[in-house]
Amino acid sequence: MKQQIPRLIVLCFGLFLVFQFFVPHESSEWIYEFLLDWILIIGVFALAVGIWSLFHVHVEKIKTKKVGWRYSYVTLAALFTMVTFGFTSMNGESFGLFIPFVATVVLTVLMIVQAMASKGNAVPYAALAGVFALAAVLIAVFDNAWSFHFQTAEPLRSVMFRRAFDFVLIPIHATMFSLLAFFIASAAYRSFRARSVMATLLLLAALIVMFRFNPYFGPTVGQYLARTANWLMNVPNMAAQRAIVMGVGLGMVATALKVILGIERGYMGKG
């Protein structure tokens, strides 16, 4: 039964959605919208499960002292700092006790983590977590410089959230992505060799595409290079990519059919 009911549900919904695509009737559209709503709702729960999973994985890492376990504290502190920023907003120019509030929230979480990860001596950490939690509650009740916003996106425009985003997240992402250029240069130097005819063709194509807007070739050569690069992108590249896309598409159809017919059962945790 444990196997058959999920397979039956998948079969019914899979077949229904295949037929629904070709039936533009009002009731068919209504059911489709209803199902889309359900997917979004289930998705939100999946997000909550994801956050719990992240928390659990890092607590386990700290508990078993795996390689790099200290970084787990940083991850959890960052997670709860951003969550706090995401639900709070300043009422005016003054920060009041907002920073101590965030610190007490983060310390509460870290003490809970420590209590969960400690083997046999959880009581002192649990007590400390209680103290910090009480401090956080007192600050939240008596400090009027800021307030909680659970229904609106106001905190997303608040100064702390924006600063964390603009001065932490953006530079981190930009740095990681820009490092790619250096690795590409190094990899090109070490491995981009004309070892065979195919490799030579690839090399030449890459050189033409990279050189197409070099102003030092003059207008004639420049135009010729640009046209050749355009042809490379629009003809050989498009032909190869089209074959890949069609292959992937057919593969997806085959996999979907296998799932609907119950041949592929990986989604139930079994292959």
Binding site: L47, R157, M233
Partner: protein, 294 residues
């Protein structure tokens, strides 16, 4: 160890250092690069340029700060072009790190609208861009494929409220806008695989006009969709953004970054050539030594 052996065992930190020095030098030198707009970029510009006032252009900005350098200039050029021409812009951000960045970009572009400008010989007066009238920012929802399908039914299905918490029905711009039937086109600017979803689930299912702006590395994989007519234009990476800026007569960060990109490409090509010369010369020497050994 001769020079070719040395070339083959060149420490990669020298490559990094050389590339960094060249990029900084190119930035300082401020060389001007002639930019030739390709047909796949021109088609997007022409389409927007010929839209009547009051049309709605849907711009899903599905990227995060990692792809900002390449994709932000596209956003700035397209949104400003739309607003200057009094075309309304509907925006979503289906990448979880995107909404804050998009919000900031919208405010920056709205600020630049307060200055009168002349683009391609046409003078545009300064004006105040109003949220809900000139644009609507719907924000982020998880699971892009589901959101794209939901938007096809009704924009209010995945987004009953906009990013700022206002019900969509309260926004003047959204009163006549219900789903993809009410937009002139969608221009997906994306650094993720959301573009695949826009093509498959959006354009494929609902048949609206779609163009894309993607990072340089993923440009090549979307050409088949251009050939099949599923998309009517592609802006590929910083070069695509620079081409759009040229067409819009609004040079920005992409145009400024082209000399650096060109210098980096020249360095990479030089290293590729050096690597190949070293490889072939070393191989020749090894063959000679083998012949002598026999």
């Amino acid at each position: 160890m001769n020079i070719f052996d040395k070339m083959m065992s060149f420490d990669r930190r020298w490559v990094f250092l050389f590339l960094a020095v060249i990029c900084v030098a190119a930035y300082v030198a401020g060389i001007r690069i002639p930019i030739l707009a390709e047909p796949e970029v021109t088609s997007i510009f022409r389409f927007i340029d010929t839209l009547p006032k009051g049309s709605i252009v849907f711009v899903p900005m599905d990227y995060d700060p990692g792809s900002m350098a390449e994709l932000h200039p596209m956003t700035y050029a397209i949104v400003e072009q739309c607003w200057r021409k009094e075309i309304k812009v509907l925006i979503t951000a289906l990448s979880q790190n995107g909404p804050g960045m998009v919000d900031q970009a919208l405010r920056d572009i709205a600020d630049s609208m307060k200055v009168p400008r002349t683009y391609n010989g046409v003078s545009y007066p300064a004006r105040e861009v109003v949220n809900g009238v000139d644009y609507a920012f719907l924000g982020y929802k998880p699971y892009p494929a589901m959101v794209i399908l939901g938007l096809g039914q009704d924009f209010r299905l995945p987004f009953p409220l906009d990013y700022y918490g206002t019900p969509l029905d309260s926004l003047p711009m959204m009163r006549g806008a219900h789903n993809y039937d009410d937009i002139a086109c969608a221009i997906n600017i994306s650094g993720t695989n959301a573009t695949d979803y826009w093509i498959s689930y959006g354009q494929g299912r609902y048949g609206f006009k779609l163009a894309i702006g993607v990072t340089g590395v993923s440009t090549a994989q979307y050409y088949p969709f251009l050939g099949s007519g599923q998309i009517f234009g592609i802006m590929g990476g910083m070069l695509g953004a620079a081409q759009y800026e040229k067409l819009a007569d609004n040079p920005g960060n992409a145009t400024a970054a082209m000399p650096i990109q060109l210098a980096a490409h020249v360095v990479i090509i030089a290293f590729v050539i050096m690597g190949n010369v070293g490889y072939f010369m070393t191989r020749r020497q090894q063959k000679r030594q083998q012949a002598v050994g026999r």
